[in-house]
């Protein structure tokens, strides 16, 4: 492995220059001694070239979109246009402070205003807040809105949120943070919401229902209207997790099919880069009567064409979830993407994403078990159950994890594995619209090769990967011998 930057330290090196201090004074005359740090900071000392070599060395250890295919289900790892990166680096965006007078940020407000409106149109919602900075924070915000709605109506007893057992783990975690109790709904034999089961859970204390649509199996919940009717019958609200919105652009507006609240993942559907785990952006759209609960401020337009930050609904608002207006520069990227694609382009996104997914599913379903073998939307779930059955000996038995790790050897990222939880050995595959047929064919061939290796040479799977910068890592050791900073590592080394 690459040495850490701390092992490259050489006393006296530095990687910066600064102008000389041009006023008189010294630190001791400014800050009383008792407030001053005792001793020197133990930070590394390295040159600019040391730093560049170090991080370039680290960069070579990553998989990333421009290097190869990322079939990660529900993650929508589409190509991130380069023009976004160029245009966000305008001083008129980068060097703007969030508390500047509004007359000095009219461009920023105009852009946010347009993005609010464009996302509202795409989703069929009345209005959108751009403040949440991640999908999970969007969920939290949307659930807070649901909570606020019920409190506003005096329905303090509405404390239960129903969600399917196929839901992403953030859904129940966000419910807890928003003060709700989670009721898990078992999916039916088709992998969808079981209407009869749902009926049995409906009661007056139900606050809402959280649904990913298409669901995490890549299947459109065709009974969504019926579900909404049941939930609305007890004044519950329908929340859509927008993780899979890439399947619906220009095809379905969630706000028009029964959903009252939803979040977007701009880092999935609207091409902002994942950055190795953020920054993302998780705007939330709501129906008309819920707008008053959205976080403050919203961006509004004056009659004279200028824009302003509106806090007039602060009495009913859930308050704030971010210090300022969310991840502004991610929102700029999403704005650019929507402006470049327009209505027709967005529909093409979903059309191509759906064709690509069905193509892979059709080519692979002879080699890997697909539980719900109907036309999928933008993703589907295969599983490793056929491969698992090949060997009885538990040491030899092939698991989905082995298939995933073998894919890494073939130059592909793994699919999302062991999720959704309702499919054992699940492999959730989402190609996105930006991948070409040749790439899909290469991936399909790699998967078929793995299926035959499983039969003929299972060790290749059990011991994979072989070609990656490191091989399988000892997760148990990572917990037992906790090494979360360089000083821990030095200590462990000494003890060894």
């Amino acid at each position: 492995m690459a040495k850490t930057i701390f092992e490259k330290h050489s006393q006296g090196r530095f990687g910066y220059t600064l102008p000389k201090l041009d006023v008189q004074g010294d630190i001791n005359s400014c800050i009383p001694e008792k407030f001053q740090r005792k001793g020197e900071l133990p930070l590394p000392e390295v040159s600019e070239l040391d730093v560049m070599r170090h991080f370039i060395e680290l960069s070579h250890l990553n998989h990333f979109i421009e290097k190869g295919f990322y079939p990660l289900g529900s993650c929508t790892m589409k190509y991130n246009p380069k023009i976004n990166e160029t245009l966000v680096r305008n001083a008129g965006f980068m060097d703007v402070h969030p508390m500047q007078p509004q007359c000095t940020v009219q461009g920023a407000l105009e852009l946010l205003y347009e993005l609010q409106n464009d996302l509202a149109e795409i989703s069929g919602m009345a209005d959108v807040t751009l403040q949440p900075v991640a999908g999970a924070q969007g969920e939290f915000t949307g659930l807070k809105v649901i909570h606020a709605y019920h409190k506003f109506n005096g329905n303090h007893h509405k404390r239960k949120i129903i969600l399917p057992d196929s839901a992403h783990g953030t859904n129940p975690a966000s419910c807890t943070l928003a003060g709700f109790e989670v009721i898990e709904l078992k999916s039916n034999e088709k992998g969808k919401v079981d209407i009869e089961e749902l009926k049995s859970l409906i009661s007056d204390d139900v606050a809402g229902f959280m649904l990913t649509n298409p669901n995490t199996l890549g299947l459109f919940e065709s009974q969504v209207e019926k579900i909404a009717e049941l939930i609305h019958s007890v004044d519950g609200l329908m929340y859509m997790d927008g993780a899979n919105l890439n399947a619906l652009l220009g095809i379905v507006q969630p706000g028009k099919i029964g959903f009252d609240v939803m979040h977007f993942n701009l880092h999935k559907t609207f091409s902002t880069p994942h950055g190795g785990g953020g920054p993302g952006s998780g705007p939330v759209g709501v129906r008309e009567d819920l707008v008053k609960f959205l976080p403050v401020p919203m961006v509004r337009k004056n009659d004279d064409g200028t824009f302003y930050l509106d806090c007039s609904h602060s009495d009913t608002s859930i308050g704030k979830v971010h210090s300022h207006y969310g991840n502004f520069s991610q929102n700029v990227r999403a704005w650019i993407y929507i402006k470049m694609l327009g209505a027709e382009g967005l529909r093409e996104v979903s059309r191509n994403a759906i064709i690509n997914a069905n193509y892979i599913m059709h080519k692979l379903n002879k080699y890997f078990h697909v539980q719900y073998d109907e036309h999928c939307m933008h993703e589907f779930v295969a599983d490793g159950s056929w491969q698992k059955k090949l060997y009885d000996d538990p040491d030899k038995q092939i698991k989905t994890l082995d298939i995933a790790k073998r894919l890494l050897d073939k130059g592909f990222h793994a699919p999302t594995v062991y999720f959704p939880l309702i499919i054992h050995e699940a492999m959730m595959i989402e190609p996105t619209e930006t991948e070409s047929k040749e790439t899909l064919d290469m991936f399909i061939n790699a998967m078929i090769e793995i299926a035959s290796e499983a039969k003929e040479n299972p060790e290749l799977l059990k011991d994979a990967p072989f070609t990656t910068p490191v091989r399988r890592l000892d997760d148990v050791r990572a917990v037992k011998v906790l090494d979360v900073k360089f000083q821990d590592y030095m200590k462990i080394k000494e003890e060894d």
Binding site: D118, Q253, T434, V484
Partner: protein, 447 residues
């Protein structure tokens, strides 16, 4: 169509392979009546050239710190950032990588996070840091939730000198899960320690104090440490400016149990307030209650060193409704910028930045304090930011100075100080720029 590779011919081949004649056949599960019949009402698509012109036109309507003389701060600061930082974070290897769940092909991301955690521990003096949070405000909120989880108590005390945006976010994060927020009174720009002492009792889960506080003043953390830890279980949570830690006491020196803060000042542009990132560190004993992602070193099958996500049983993808938080990301790229920045600056550079900011801020404060009609609001030690009492409402003053291409600072009206102006000085400010502000303030007072 932009960014889509396949052609009509290829789509046709794929549809044939699937066994359908038309794309619409794939939508069988979407009832007809749920489908859109009209195209979305969006602007006509723009080419790359057109969108560039449009965005440049929009950006030109913003005024920014490179073209104005800016003294804006309050948590988001315009510190110098070496060019090399951007050259690293724009690399697709970091920019377009996914969250490092497949560790074998994410060692680059995992190792920089490990290094980030180490650097945060070095800055704060704490034992364990996570991979980062959304912003300083949500990190502070999560710290209070953690304190409550750890102590099994519901009462948390917030210093009244806390950033109002921190307070807003804390309220949203805590109001529906039963936490009781108590605000400690303010006296002369700092926490009233006598009043704070009265509020802390056996039901207290934690006390959150920001230093430097919202008014720029340094809090007496040694004294607060004594007050908080007089209660056996109560935790001291410090919210700090990371740049300040190069001259001010490390939170470990005053026995903070949890340390959080807004990290933007470390190598990230202001970007109209986002992305920001929060840093989050604590003592080892609190590790199981910690929110967020943590990277640990370990060994691979061949005994070679590598990195992986660790202590994951706290997290939502495993623990679901019982997780320590719902967070499942870490503002990773902003943390990378901070990591590269801290490495470039090193111990000498960060110290120099902190010292220059301090000395310049004190130079400016002294000049303004001597102006007729102006007064330094609080007789307290400060770092790079201070509060001025203005002869006219701060809002009016700020608006007047915008006309002179000066962003004078942050209006403190919402804290009850209508004539309060918060002025921040970083190492980027020159003597000439500070003198320009002094002259402009003098002119305002002279009518």
């Amino acid at each position: 169509m932009p960014f889509i590779s396949n052609t009509d011919k290829e789509r046709k081949e794929m549809l044939e392979a699937i066994g359908v004649a038309r794309f619409e056949e794939l939508l069988v599960n979407i009832p007809e009546k749920l489908r859109l019949t009209q195209p979305l009402k969006l602007d006509e698509p723009l080419s790359e050239l057109e969108v560039t012109r449009r965005i440049n036109c929009i950006a030109a309507k913003n005024r920014h710190s490179e073209a104005m003389n800016s003294f804006m701060g309050a948590g988001v600061y315009d510190h110098f950032i070496p060019a090399a930082v951007d050259h690293i974070i724009i690399r697709p290897e970091f920019l377009t990588a996914y969250t490092p769940y497949q560790a074998e092909v994410s060692q680059g991301t995992l190792q920089f996070i490990y290094e980030f955690q180490t650097l945060i521990c070095e800055l704060t003096g704490m034992e364990i840091a996570n991979a980062g949070m959304y912003d300083g405000a949500s990190a502070a909120a999560e710290a209070l939730l953690m304190a409550s989880r750890h102590t099994r108590k519901e009462k948390v005390i917030l210093a009244g000198t806390l950033h109002p945006r921190f307070y807003d976010v804390i309220r949203s994060y805590t109001e529906d899960v039963g936490l009781e927020l108590v605000i400690a009174p303010v006296k002369k720009g700092a926490t009233d320690l006598d009043e704070l002492a009265k509020l802390i009792d056996k039901d207290t889960a934690g006390v959150l104090v920001q230093t430097p506080n919202y008014y720029g003043c340094l809090e007496d953390m040694q004294k607060i440490d004594e007050l908080v830890h007089a209660q056996k279980k109560a935790l001291l949570i410090a919210a700090v400016d990371p740049i300040s830690l190069n001259v001010l006491n490390s939170p470990a020196e005053y026995h903070a149990d949890i340390v959080v803060g807004e990290g933007q000042a470390l190598g990230n542009k202001m970007n109209y307030g986002g992305p920001l990132f929060g840093f989050f560190a604590s003592s080892f004993s609190l590790q199981r209650s910690m929110p967020g992602r943590i990277v640990g070193g370990t060994l691979d099958l061949d005994g070679k060193r590598g990195y992986a996500l660790t202590l994951q049983t706290r997290e939502q993808h495993i623990r679901r409704a019982k997780a320590t938080s719902n967070i499942c990301s870490n503002q990773s790229l902003a943390c990378l910028a901070a990591t590269v920045y801290m490495c470039l600056m090193g111990r000498k550079g960060l110290r120099e930045i902190a010292e220059q900011s301090t000395i310049k801020a004190h130079y400016l404060a002294e000049k303004i304090g001597k102006l007729n009609g102006f007064e330094i609001a609080f007789d307290q030690p400060f770092f790079k930011e201070f509060t001025v009492k203005t002869p006219i409402p701060a809002k009016e003053l700020i608006d007047k100075l915008v006309e002179k291409d000066i962003l004078a600072g942050v209006n403190l009206a919402e804290t009850g100080m209508k004539n309060g102006l918060l002025i921040a000085v970083t190492e980027k400010k020159t003597k000439a720029q500070m003198d320009e502000l002094v002259k402009a303030l003098e002119e305002v007072n002279n009518g």
